[in-house]
Subunit: 311 residues, 2 copies
């Protein structure tokens, strides 16, 4: 972080709130000082760090593999959940039940070892183009958010990604895109089986979700399980981030919650952030207004949206 | 790490193997070089970093609270598992079944928030004296292992504790004792409930284990879940560490597994490391001989055993 932090942010209320908060908690003589070990930041991924429209990046990844599987096994294509998925209608797919949905989605990569999966995901991420912007999906990362991660790290924060996406999928890109190592990613997980293959211990992906998707209350429980401390900073963009924001902003220390508002149809998309698993959950904008979280208008607060491709 | 690493280690085969391994994987021009991000070390806690005899430190902690509860509720004291626990007979307690055992053990702190529990555990750890050595249990940390952690960190390793003990219990001491933050501790876990108390989101401990104890195969599964990478260094002392050592030492990179042999009755204890949950598991010394792991004789290889109290 040089002389001018957050260069891709306009001089608006969000930038001011972030700079003031970071300065306050890291000023050793100030009333709001927080010891460095307790400066924990948790950041959602889809729609907060990278573009999640017209579909979650991971849904595009799974959809491509599912299409291949349907060609080999037409009966799979007859299932309602498969039809909904291939039509890109996540709501219809969810209406088939989370069990049915995760059955089909997780079967796409069942049988691969975790190491094989990481290779497949990284290769796909580097090539698959976004349907609107043409660039690889994994390059549609928000430049202002990368600057925010840098500012937090330079101010002694531990920065964690807490995603509803699959933890191993996001890990396949997190170091390269965000400078966040695999051990600092918390996400949804699949069951794995312990096997020995050719003398090596490997872990083999099963077609079964491990616990609940990492959305809503599970985000909080998984933050505690993984990080072991209450965060003082949280950023999200959907109703699935509400409990995480609530956890971060109701602790004993000074805290800040921010919510990205996708109101920029021209440069990105305009939509309200819904919970992935609970469409009836309170709109995140309403939660933010009630709780005093800082809403970031993408249109007004961001000087530019997408970062340059990683080097 | 100054000019002379591992000063508490005698110039024996274990010290030589460690120094050679660390130098080889961190030499950028060498054949065995491992990129820094993949230099992951996983270290068991009980019997590997601190003394686990005559009883696990956590068993002493839980036993003290259980005694208080029995005074308030004599019926609790009539249960076979309680009697075994209060007699310090973990085998008899385990014979009552892991469900029954964890029921009673986890009820000792059910209802506390994770933050309250951290305070209770830290306070106990700082005061409770070890029955033989008089000093607080948490001061019976092995000086040679602290030096090893320092050497690993100075050589670009990410150092993680992977313990059969309760993750929140070990976290209450890990930063102070080992310089390992709570997010770098992987352990057994209890279920927690999401609640709002006085306007704050809190997580409340339940009297229920979350998944399996972190021993044996679960150690490997939890390493992947938490760290997201295969380690290249592992240290343990019991049959419950076998699979973790196997995972670390059967990957594509150069690796090292070490096993602490408690053969020093005079300065510490002499015993063979058994699995906590499976007394019939192969002795770790036999696994080590077969797999080529480096066995560390406490008596012969360590110049001193216990570190000075943390400052």
């Amino acid at each position: 972080v040089g002389a001018e932090p957050l260069p891709s942010w306009n001089d608006g209320p969000a930038k001011a709130a972030i700079l003031e908060f970071v300065a306050a908690v890291s000023d050793p003589g100030g009333d709001d000082h927080v010891p460095e070990a307790e400066r924990i930041a948790v950041i959602d991924n889809d729609g907060t760090l990278w573009c999640e429209r017209p579909a979650y990046v991971q849904a595009l990844f799974l959809g491509e593999r599912l299409r291949e599987q349907v060609q080999a096994d037409p009966a799979l294509g007859e299932r309602a959940v498969t039809r909904a998925l291939l039509a890109g209608d996540l709501h219809a797919a969810l209406a088939c039940g989370l069990g049915e949905l995760s059955d089909v989605l997780l079967a796409t990569h069942a049988g691969l070892t975790t190491e094989e999966f990481a290779g497949v995901a990284a290769a796909w991420l580097a090539r698959a183009p976004h349907p609107r912007f043409g660039r690889p999906c994994s390059e549609l990362v928000y430049a202002p958010m990368l600057e925010l991660l840098d500012l937090l790290r330079a101010s002694g924060f531990g920065v964690f990604i807490v995603t509803g996406g699959g933890v191993e999928f996001v890990r396949a890109a997190s170091e390269r895109l965000y400078g966040v190592g695999p051990d600092d990613v918390v996400g949804s997980a699949v069951e794995v089986g312990f096997e020995r293959r050719d003398g090596r211990v490997v872990l083999v992906r099963q077609a079964k979700l491990k616990g609940s998707p990492n959305e809503g209350v599970p985000k909080v429980i998984n933050i505690q399980a993984h990080i072991g401390r209450r965060p003082i900073f949280a950023a999200g963009n959907s109703a699935g981030d509400r409990e995480m924001l609530d956890f971060a902003t109701t602790g004993p220390h000074r805290s800040l919650g921010i919510v990205i508002d996708h109101d920029d149809e021209e440069r990105e998309y305009a939509y309200a952030g819904e919970s992935m698993t609970d469409p009836s959950a309170e709109a995140i904008a309403d939660s933010a207004a009630r709780a005093g979280w800082t809403v970031v208008s993408m249109r007004d607060e961001w000087r530019r949206v997408f970062a340059d491709p990683p080097g």
